[in-house]
């Protein structure tokens, strides 16, 4: 088990290098540079821009910069932000927790609602309830997040006046509810659909028939026999889609003034603050990889057939 984890962790390395390579070169070929954007509306004169470019090493060829970056990476040095001049690690560190918290709570909301919903509609295949769930799931997927976010804000903050509209509120749990729901709904829809498919498949398995032939109640069959087996399928899908959940934080964080990584990443792309973009991508990717590792490991808890030597 431990050696399996170690091996997986080592496998992270090439993936991370691959991603940095792709992202680094993609960012490099983007038109414009940080110096151009540095002054905001008060553009910086071209001469000063040249100086900045030199200072940031943007005048060096891209491969040289990449190797420098990788060298830094090996010593856990993610570089320095162009704009603020602070170390990337210092900039990112305080934004990790809010994004993590948001993603996890959104995930929890999605799981708590999506899985039972999918389960329920699978058990009532072909009924009106099933159709309603399906349509609900599709609306969840096709509803733009800013729409949902604004509607929730209107309903809960302006109309009911029970929740704050935006902000982080020092970690006050009231503040996370709306952004988490907004982020989680699409994911919930996805989980509901995956769960439904998985349950439908599981229900046709021989061992479910065996369980029935034993005279066990449907409740127990569903709760124990079906759910357990379905979990692995749901987990895989949930893990793979976690990337898109993280991607969704961009819109939600911006809308709700949530101090997370998503906003920072988009802004850093806009301002061509590549060290920050790289850092954000790095964190998101490590997050994705770790989540998927955890998913794989949790298989071992659910499925005794999987052994990690």
């Amino acid at each position: 088990m431990i050696s399996y984890v170690l091996r997986r962790l080592i496998q992270f390395v090439p993936t991370i290098f691959g991603v940095t390579l792709i992202v680094f070169f993609l960012l490099n070929v983007l038109p414009g540079n940080a110096a151009m954007m540095a002054g905001g509306k008060n553009r910086i004169p071209p001469a000063a821009q040249k100086l900045m470019i030199k200072k940031w090493g943007l005048d060096q060829p891209v491969y040289a910069r990449y190797f420098k970056y990788i060298k830094g990476l090996c010593t856990a040095d993610l570089g320095t932000s162009f704009i603020s001049g602070e170390r990337v690690t210092d900039v990112l560190a305080p934004r990790l927790w809010p994004t993590f918290k948001l993603a996890v709570i959104a995930l929890a909301i999605a799981c708590v609602t999506g899985i039972p919903l999918g389960f329920y509609s699978a058990l009532r295949q072909g009924t009106a309830m099933d159709t309603v769930t399906m349509i609900g799931a599709v609306s969840g997927v096709s509803m733009p997040q800013f729409w949902l976010g604004l509607l929730l804000m209107y309903f809960f903050s302006v109309y009911l006046k029970i929740l704050p509209t935006v902000g982080y509120g020092n970690g006050d749990p009231k503040f996370i509810i709306l952004p988490a729901i907004t982020l989680g709904v699409g994911y919930m829809a996805l989980l509901a659909r995956t769960t439904r498919a998985a349950v439908v498949e599981t229900l046709s398995q021989d061992y479910i028939r065996t369980a029935r032939s034993k005279g066990i109640s449907d409740l127990l069959i569903n709760r124990r026999h079906v759910l357990r087996n379905t979990l692995t399928i749901i987990l895989t899908s949930a893990g793979l889609q976690f990337g898109s959940l993280l991607g969704g934080t961009v819109v939600v964080e911006t809308l709700f003034s949530w101090p997370g990584l998503g906003t920072m990443m988009v802004n850093s792309i806009y301002y061509r603050d590549t060290p920050i973009t790289q850092g954000c991508v790095m964190i998101i990717i490590v997050g994705f990889l770790v989540i998927n590792l955890l998913v794989d490991l949790s298989y071992a808890l659910i499925d005794p057939r999987i052994k990690y030597q």
Partner: protein, 345 residues
């Protein structure tokens, strides 16, 4: 890894057909191991010893039956002969040509060999491409191999094949899903005949069929053999079927041949305890024949960790002390009867 059979093994054999001829197929000390990677930094490799030193010959026009329980390596042997599995070691000689390293042969030779050797599979459902019509299934190999170059000839050939296996040419436009299991097996047979092969490996060709259909296919296979001058390697677990079709039978257990003999010798005088147990275990459709069977204890061991010495010894009712220590070689007991057992000297 160092378990080896003595190399003498089946040298003279066969009772049907002209014994003077060189064998059509000759398999020598064939081993097929599947690597299983375990461990972390060390990258320890374990092997599944699927086939562990199998040797046999097949003469022109002969049928060799290979029987054994699941996991004994009979299917892998068949696939290795066809080069659908890469042998780990040993030699496969077909019509005098060493084809062990199939990929190293020239493309032309490969194509030629593919034409000569064909296969019929067990499961009639998975062995036909569900998205291809019957005509295409039969025509495609001809096109690839450049047989019957004109469309008309091909069409005639397809019609002939379909008729020969008991289908009608008008069914050629249909897709496999509209056929029953028995019909599909006929299609599989027709396909294997499309290229005029000289040898066919049948991997449990009748075991998935209903009893009433099984007889049809067995009869068909026997008829086709003489008509097309075929040699068969027939892999099966049902001894009764094997006895009915084969000229010679090899009994496999855990990757090795434990006994090989002409069909009649084997039934009259099975020498290996495993063969005896196998034969006694088969339920006979005659309630009066209920008898005291040899019921073997335990399960077939995993080919990943085969027992020491004779692989059968943990289950053998007559095992000797030496059975767990050394593996017996195949001994010739006359009339092409070979057996690998310490009891038989």
């Amino acid at each position: 890894m160092k378990k080896k059979y003595p190399h003498d093994v089946v040298s003279s054999s066969g009772n049907i057909g002209s014994a003077a001829e060189n064998p059509m197929l000759s398999v020598e000390d064939l081993k097929v191991y599947f690597p299983v990677e375990t461990g972390f930094l060390s990258r320890r490799r374990e092997y599944v010893y699927a086939v562990d030193g199998v040797s046999f010959d097949l003469k022109k026009g002969e049928t060799l039956g290979i029987v054994g329980e699941s996991g004994c390596g009979k299917t892998t042997t068949g696939m290795a002969v066809l080069n659908l599995e890469q042998p780990t070691s040993g030699r496969v000689v077909f019509k005098g040509q060493d084809i062990t390293d199939f990929r190293k042969l020239s493309t032309e030779t490969q194509l030629q060999l593919r034409k000569e050797m064909q296969v019929i599979f067990q499961d009639p459902y998975s062995s036909l491409n569900p998205r291809t019509s019957l005509d295409k299934i039969l025509e495609e190999p001809m096109k690839v191999h450049g047989l019957y170059p004109s469309p008309g000839e091909r069409r005639d050939r397809v019609a002939y094949l379909l008729e020969r296996v008991g289908l009608t040419p008008s069914q050629g436009k249909r897709y496999p899903h509209s056929f029953s299991g028995g019909q599909r097996q006929r299609i599989g047979i027709a396909r294997s005949l499309a290229l005029n092969p000289s040898m066919i490996v049948g991997d449990e060709p009748v075991s998935a069929l209903d009893v009433s259909i099984q007889a049809q296919i067995i009869n068909l296979l026997i008829d086709l053999q003489s008509e097309f001058d075929l040699s068969y390697v027939l892999i099966a677990h049902d001894l009764a079927v094997v006895e009915h079709i084969s000229d010679r039978i090899a009994v496999m257990y855990l990757g090795r041949i434990v006994e090989t003999a002409p069909y009649d010798r084997l039934f009259v005088n099975p020498l290996h305890p495993y063969t005896q147990a196998l034969m006694s275990a088969i339920p006979v459709p005659d309630p009066k024949a209920r008898k005291n069977r040899i019921v073997l204890t335990g399960d077939v061991p995993s080919p990943r960790h085969p027992p020491s010495g004779c692989a059968f010894h943990p289950r053998c009712p007559e095992r000797l002390a030496e059975c767990s220590e050394s593996a017996p070689g195949l001994l010739h007991k006359g009339q092409a009867h070979h057996v690998a057992c310490h009891l038989v000297r």
